[in-house]
Each structure stands twice: as C-alpha cells, then as structure tokens.
Amino acid sequence: MRSGENNLRSKIRGLADGVATGLAVLSTVLVVLPLLLIFGYLIYKGASSLNLDFFTQIPKPEGETGGGMANAIVGSGVVLAIASLLGIPVGIGSGIFLAEFGRGTKLAEAVRFTADVLNGVPSIVMGVAVYALVVTPQMPFSALSGGVALGIMMIPTVCRTTEEMLLMVPHAVREAALGLGVPNWRSVLSITVKTASPGIITGCMLAFARVAGETAPLIFTAFGNAFWSVSLTRPIAALPLEIYKYASSPYEDQHRQAWAGALVLIILIVLAVSLVRYVTSRGVLKGAS
C-alpha cells in the first residue's frame, strides 16, 4: 500500500519535472522565434530593396520611385561623430576615475550608481531635455543638438566598460611602471589604459552601435532633412529617423527604402556586437597583459 503511494508520488514528481522541462524548452523556442522572424524578414525585404542608388542618391520627392538615402547615411555619420567626440572622452575619463582613483570611495559608488541611472533614462526624455537645453530660436533644429543628445547617451556605457576593462589589468603592471619612476598620469595613460585598450575600444564600439539606432532623441533635435546638408547648425537627416518617417508613409517605394535602411543599420550593429563578444570571450586582454 505504502509503496504504491510512493510509486504514485514519484510518478507525479517525474511528470512535474518533465512538464517544467518542456515549458522551459518551449519558452526558449518562443523567444528565439521572433528573433529569427525579424532577421529573416529584414534580410528578405532589405536585400531585395538594397541597390547602389541607396548609397549614392538623395531621396526623391514623395510618390516618385527611386532615390536613396545617401544624405541620411552621411548625416548619421556627422551626428555620430559629434556624439563620439562628446561621449567617448568623458566616458573614458570617468571610467579611469572609477578604476584608478576612486576605488572603494563613496564618490565612486555614487558615480557608478548615477551612470546606471543615466543608462536607464528613456531616450525620448533625453531628447526633451536636450531640446530645452540646446535648441533655441537662433538655432532651431540642428545636427549639433542631435549629437549632444546621443553623446550623453554614450557616456554610461563607455564609462562602465572602461572601468571593467581597467580593473582587469594586473597591479604588477602599474607598480612596475611606477617603480621605473614614471609619473602616475603617464603610467595610467601609456601603461594601464594602453593594456586595456582593446577592451575599451570595443566598449566604445558597443556604445556607438547602440546610439546609431536611436531615433527618439533625434525627432526633435536633428529633425531630419530631405536634402544634402552637413552643416552643424541646420537640420540634418539620420538613418533611423528616415526609417521611422518612411515606415509611416503611404508609399510602397518608401517602405522599400525603410527596409533597406534597416538592413544597413542592423548589419552595422550586429558587426559591432559580434566583435565585442569575440574580444571579450577570447580574452584579448589576458594576452596583452
């Protein structure tokens, strides 16, 4: 009797185990499925729409077929260059502070926390704040304000990866430099930072890739432009912005362009993310130190 009960119980337990395993596998499939759908659809739609004109022509007036996004690609380049000029030095600097000078201090703890908070601020809010800060009646919408918004968004990522990479550099390296009479600042810049540079560079690329696809803060800072413009004080086109505009347009040909733009953007981002993963998993740092 008792053994029968036990038998039943262990059967139920086994069944529960099997069901749980099945559910976990099912949810993994359900998560991977949309990813494959998105990529499949994107490559299918994007590859059939991508041509040379896309990279060399500026947009045609609405309703006409043809044209490309050359101005948006260049515009994205300009905005991202401004963003990198602002975000990367400040990010690396604060990363160096966290790893080299502030270890264990209250200030560093607070900076780390604030950086994480900044990372969580919605990008649209960043756009609103930068609009209020930079966009004035004298300079309405501009490439500069778009660059500032994206630059601020790069800082937390760059800062935290720099810190992590610097922490991986062994102390012996620093002490060896100091022991040779090298001033501390030189030791930090040409020994520690240089040793960690592959990691820091990939961190910057990660931040770059992330803001490259940002649309929300650009809607009312860079604003978009249907013509050629590389002026810093005038509205400028950007790739994600054009994708957004074209996706909501009623014309079939603009949808085609949106898909092509999305494919270009995603290739850029996947390359950056894969590179980051390659560098961090292969432990380039260990070899360098």
Binding site: R13, T21, S94, I124, V169, W185, A209, A212, G213
Partner: protein, 360 residues
C-alpha cells in the same frame, strides 16, 4: 632545476589576476602597496599628477552634472503647465466647452491632462510584463540549468542580439508583420474567446492598439529580464543545488527549492528593470499603439503612451503651453524611470553581492 623553477614562477606571477576584482568581487579598500605609496609620495611631477587626477574627477562629476541638468531643464520647461494645471494634470479630465463631453488633450482649447497617456503606458507595460516574465524565466532556467553546453553560447548570443536591435527596427517589423498578424488572426480569436470580459471588442479593425504594443514591448524587454535573471541564478552557490539533489529531489524540485527561492529577490529586480525599459520605450510603441487621445477599456483599441505622445507631438507643438505639457509628461517619465531603475539595481545588487549588474 633552479632555472626551471624561476621560469615557471615568472609567468605565474604575471598572469595572477589582481586579488578580488576580476571575479566581480569588490576590490579591497586599500590595495596600494607600501612601495607604491612611497613612489607616489616622492613628489616628482606632482602637479601633473594632480592635474590629471582632477581632470578625471571632473569627467566623473560631469555625469552628476548631466543628470542634474536634465532634471532642471525638465522642471523649467514644465513650469508653465505645472502652474496652470497642478496635480490635476495627472488625474482629471476636462469638460469640452463645445461638446460638453469629457476630454483630456485638447491643444486647440489649451486643455491638457496626461491621464490617457498614464493609462496607456501602464496598460501596455503591464501586458508586456505579463507575456515577457514567464518566458524570460523559462529561458533563464533553460539556459542555466538544463541547456546542453553546446547550445548555451549561441542561445545566449541570440538573446543578446535581441537586445541590440534598435527600437525603430522593431517598430518597422511590427508595422509590416505583427500588425497584419494581429489584425487577421489574433484579435478576432481574442474577441471570440474573451469578448465577454469586455476587455476585447471589435471596434478597432486596424490591428494596432495596446495589445500589439504589449507584444512588441514584451519581445523587447525579454532579453533584459532573462539575462539578469540568468545572472542572479548563476550567483546561487552550487552547493545549494547539490544539497537538494542529494536529498533525492528531481531537477524541477531542485530548481524550485534551491535556485528560484534563493534568486527570487534578484528576479524581482530584473522584472522591475524590464518594467523601467518598457515604461520609457518609444519608437516601436509609437509606431503600433494607434495614437488616440481617449481612454478606452478594450485592450484592442488604439491608445497612446507617455513616450509616444511626446514623440508624436513635440516637434509640432502648437503653443508654449502645449510644449510645456509635453515636457511635464517627460519629467514624470524621468522621475518614474529613475525610481524604478534605482529600486531594481538595489534588488539585483542585493543578490549578486556587489558585483555591479549591467544591462545587456
């Protein structure tokens, strides 16, 4: 023999990771050795050193500066709307003088209330969490406890990629694939099966709306929740698992008793972090939520979230008050996401014991 020993020892010393830091443990408080302190105190190039140090401190302080700047700009920008509407902005509707109907957002008569957008943000985020949380935990359990080692790397990479796709591309995909899917199959089915609850009605045949926004949001926050959940599950010591298994538990019982119970605070933190992301998510939601300015009970109806109304109207705001009202919504979003993120970080930190958790 002697030479051999030194040859072995040198690489060992070089490869030795510095104590404490690489494994994610907190670095020891004062790790500068006597030698280093002596060298630092010698005073040559002290000015350059001090200058360099201050430059780095300045960079770090600028992060505070940026957050403060964002806050002050938002407060300044929303002052006009705040003085006119006060707290009613978030809670009350207005009576339209022409139609005598309650209305919320009327740029022509300059009446603004953020109530429908608060509602839209809450509904779409809640739907997203409802779908994403069980899936994310399932994936995390599968990857940490069940997955064959061969699959683990590629699957983790795939979920990481999901996090790297820009929001606008999710929106594009949703507009052309998810929306038709919802319009033709999911929504009619939901109306047929659940129409009696009153939350599903067929007044909106477009396929846009809260539910569609919830689905795309769920896909977007999944990787964040699952990667953090994995992180806290990995932080559960192996001895716990072994102890439960040794008592004769099945794998699922082991996961329940040893892993999920120990990691639960961290998992809650991960969910809250996902919520923070969902609340502020803009582009994909803007593209599929349908942009209506009313409150409707059906989750198949069009709506608007706080972020999407800013994205839609900010660049074309008709008056200063309109702009100010939109800025106030931005300020509310800023405060809410800060609170949500801080809370989530604290919870995750509590479990992973000081190893700073990173989103991605």
């Amino acid at each position: 023999m002697n030479a051999n020993v030194s040859e072995i020892r040198i690489p060992q010393v070089q490869l030795q990771p510095e104590p404490g830091s690489p494994d994610g443990k907190r670095p020891p408080k004062s790790e500068a050795s006597e030698v280093r302190r002596y060298l630092l105190s010698r005073g040559n190039s002290a000015i350059a050193d001090r200058g360099f140090r201050w430059l780095m401190v300045l960079c770090a302080l600028s992060i505070f500066g940026i957050v403060v700047l964002i806050a002050t700009e938002l407060v300044k920008g929303s002052h006009l709307s705040w003085t006119k509407f006060g707290l009613d902005f978030f809670f009350k509707s207005f009576i339209d003088p022409d139609t005598k109907q309650p209305s919320y957002w009327d740029p022509v008569n300059e009446h603004f209330s953020a109530l429908p957008f608060l509602y839209g943000t809450l509904v779409s985020s809640f739907l997203a969490l409802l779908m994403a949380v069980p899936l994310a935990i399932g994936v995390a359990v599968f990857l940490t406890e069940m997955c064959p080692a061969v699959l683990r790397g590629p699957l983790a990479f795939l979920t990481e990629l999901l996090a790297a796709i820009p929001s606008v591309i999710y929106g594009l995909w949703a507009m052309f694939m998810l929306v038709p899917l919802m319009r033709q199959y999911v929504n009619p089915l939901a109306i047929k099966l659940l129409g009696w609850t009153g939350f599903f009605d067929d007044s909106n045949p477009t396929g846009l709306g809260f539910l569609t926004a919830g689905v795309i949001l769920a896909i977007m926050i999944l990787p964040i929740i699952s990667s953090l959940t994995r992180e806290v599950m990995n932080a559960v010591p192996h001895s716990q698992r072994e102890a439960v298994l040794a008592l004769g538990a099945t794998r699922w019982e082991m996961i329940q008793m040893a892993v999920l119970r120990n990691a639960r605070i961290g998992i809650v933190g991960a969910i809250i972090l996902g919520l923070g992301r969902a609340l502020g998510e803009t582009m994909a939601v803007t593209m599929v939520i349908g942009n209506s300015l009313d409150i409707q009970r059906s989750i198949l109806s069009n709506g608007n979230s706080m972020a999407s109304v800013i994205a839609n109207q900010y660049a074309e705001a008709s008056s200063d008050l309109h702009l100010s009202a939109l800025t106030e919504i931005g300020l509310a979003l800023f405060i809410v996401t800060i609170i949500v993120n801080a809370l989530a970080r604290l919870l995750v930190w509590a479990v992973t014991r000081g190893a700073p958790a990173r989103v991605n």
